[in-house]
Symmetry: C2
Subunit: 149 residues, 2 copies
């Protein structure tokens, strides 16, 4: 029982992404493959987890470039183990905490801010928070809604 190597199609299917996405990720250095004699991509099994992590991280609002950097800490030579992945998780959890805290601040400022008169660019807590937080590396947020449709 050799571990069967995966084709792009299989990986795409199992991860719920398009083949073109895998090409794209490879081009961006997020995943790796080697080629068979026919020049077709083959993947090791751990690419599945890698892609899962990429997707999860994206949902947390991390850009592909940042994900790439984080993933580059994973060992290239051997299949990453539990400790490797945990390191990644720890790295991002702190980030998440900051993002969440930022959102909470925004939420808490919102009602007061919009309702009262303070929402003037210079004095509004929302704007003051921004500067403070962007220095910490947590800046603008873009949440994409994919509601009904």
């Amino acid at each position: 029982m050799d571990v069967p190597n995966l084709t792009v199609g299989k990986v795409a299917e199992r991860c719920g992404v398009k083949v073109s996405t895998l090409h794209f990720y490879e081009e961006k250095g997020l995943i790796r493959s080697w080629r068979n004699q026919g020049n077709q991509r083959r993947y090791k099994r751990d690419v599945l987890r890698r892609i899962s992590v990429i997707k999860a991280a994206q949902k947390m609002g991390i850009s592909l470039e940042n994900i790439r950097q984080a993933l580059s800490c994973l060992p290239d030579s051997r299949t990453p183990n539990k400790k490797d992945w945990e390191k990644l998780a720890n790295f991002w959890r702190e980030d998440m905490n900051q993002r969440i805290a930022y959102m909470e601040k925004l939420r808490d400022s919102l009602t007061g801010c919009i309702g009262c008169g303070c929402l003037s660019m210079e004095t509004c807590p929302i704007y003051n928070n921004e500067d403070e937080l962007s220095k910490q590396g947590t800046g603008a947020i873009l949440l994409e809604k994919e509601a009904g449709e």
Copy 2:
């Protein structure tokens, strides 16, 4: 003491945005202006607050299109009052709560998920959450980092 009407330049300056952004917002139906005889834009003072709100909402991850829709509930004929703005704030606060809850779930799932073996597309809580939440209108997230450049 007539309220002096604002020019694009003034509005841009006071809001910390570029003139082109104001043109853009107007084109997208987010703000309004009228023209003087020379065809130049003039704004009422409440445009400042409107833009503040747009900016704040963007930081919360709301898309311009959604902001436009929300703002379209504001009265066009009269200057919006406190109640009008509060309605908006309430509308978005619920949204924020969902987004925050989603982030928290993600964060809490992250360590376990990445660390253990469950991060397989079909069973991972992160993926299950996604479906559940996207039906509620809270989908993918994109947080833009503007750290130290």
